[in-house]
């Protein structure tokens, strides 16, 4: 499994994402500058957190027009896995690869904390290492994490099982509709989430619950490829 971690001017969780991949999966991960036009060599593309282009205009609004984002769209169409974390999630919604948008937190405060999440579905490429309904702890660090989607789209997303993570009851840190913390595309190969699994890799970091997300992707990839080669 080959992983690309995109770097935009202002990305700051890129190195953490590379370490998360190499330490949990033992597979290579490469930093790829946002001007890259070809991502066909990669099975997983991580759009990391940070403040691409200084969050000017809107978070993710300018980064979505980078050449690499056209390549991400192509990769998603051929079935590669795409994971957008925090600013990466904002970029994926701006690019229309995921539904909805991220507004300013309801409190207007930047929120930085380890929060409890509920795993809504454990039968996806990204969550197979968890159990459905499990409570996990993953850090958040954002000012624009207030997920919005209109009622009709939300109902459709529920029906299609596109919601993978919710903030645990009474722990919604930002005002997101339906306590949504992470959503997947309809096809099931693009995930965006505000919490940072790459910052929850060891107990001494406060939680090791994020590691299983990366391990899940590797397991899914391995199953698909070992069957294909058998």
């Amino acid at each position: 499994m080959n992983t690309a971690v995109l770097q935009f001017p202002g990305s700051n969780c890129d190195e953490d994402a590379v370490k998360a991949i190499t330490q949990t999966t033992g597979k290579p991960a490469e930093l790829v500058w946002h001007t890259a036009e070809d991502l066909s060599a990669f099975d997983l593309i991580i759009v990391p957190g940070g403040f691409s282009y200084g969050d000017y205009l809107r978070s993710g609004a300018i980064a979505r027009f980078s050449p690499a984002m056209s390549a991400v769209r192509e990769a998603a169409e051929r079935g590669a896995y795409v994971l957008g974390i925090c600013n990466g999630f904002q970029i994926l919604t701006e690019a229309g690869l995921l539904p909805g948008a991220l507004r300013r937190n309801e409190s207007l405060q930047y929120r930085c904390a380890i929060v409890p999440l509920t795993v809504v579905r454990a039968d996806t490429p990204f969550t197979s290492g968890y159990t459905t309904g499990e409570e996990i702890y993953i850090p958040i660090a954002h000012g624009d994490g207030n997920y919005y989607v209109d009622d009709a789209t939300l109902a459709l997303m529920e029906q299609r099982g596109q919601i993978l993570f919710r903030y645990a009851k009474e722990h919604n840190p930002n005002g997101s509709v339906d306590d949504i913390a992470g959503v997947m595309n309809e096809r099931g190969n693009v995930l965006g989430m505000m919490p940072h699994p790459e910052r929850a890799m060891h107990e001494w970091l406060g939680s090791a619950d994020g590691a299983r997300l990366f391990a899940s992707i590797l397991t899914t990839w391995r199953n698909a490829h070992e069957h294909a080669n058998a």
Binding site: L57, A61, E94, A101, R103, G175
Partner: protein, 87 residues
């Protein structure tokens, strides 16, 4: 020769989308004694100077800019005034 235009673009969150900044400003105005304030929406003001063959093509360009980059149509709406600059 192209004419020069200035577009004054106002971007706000759609009426159906809760505006956390507007809500905070409403509360602050109430606290200052402006009890008659019923609602506040906080948005952005963007000024674009552009050259275009005529008003129609200028309007067309501004609308496309708004849809593509300047606003996020999922949560925001916009209005604009276009002025032709006399040289």
């Amino acid at each position: 020769m192209d004419a020069q235009y200035k577009a004054a673009i106002h971007v706000t969150l759609k009426a159906s989308v809760l505006d956390p900044q507007g809500a905070a400003v409403t509360k602050a105005l109430h606290a200052l004694g402006y009890q008659d304030v019923q609602d506040v929406r906080v948005g952005k003001f963007i000024e674009v100077a552009l050259a275009a063959a005529d008003e129609t093509s200028a309007r067309d360009a501004v609308a496309r800019m708004c849809e593509q980059l300047l606003t996020n149509p999922v949560i925001e709406s916009y209005t604009y005034e276009l002025t032709e600059l006399t040289v």
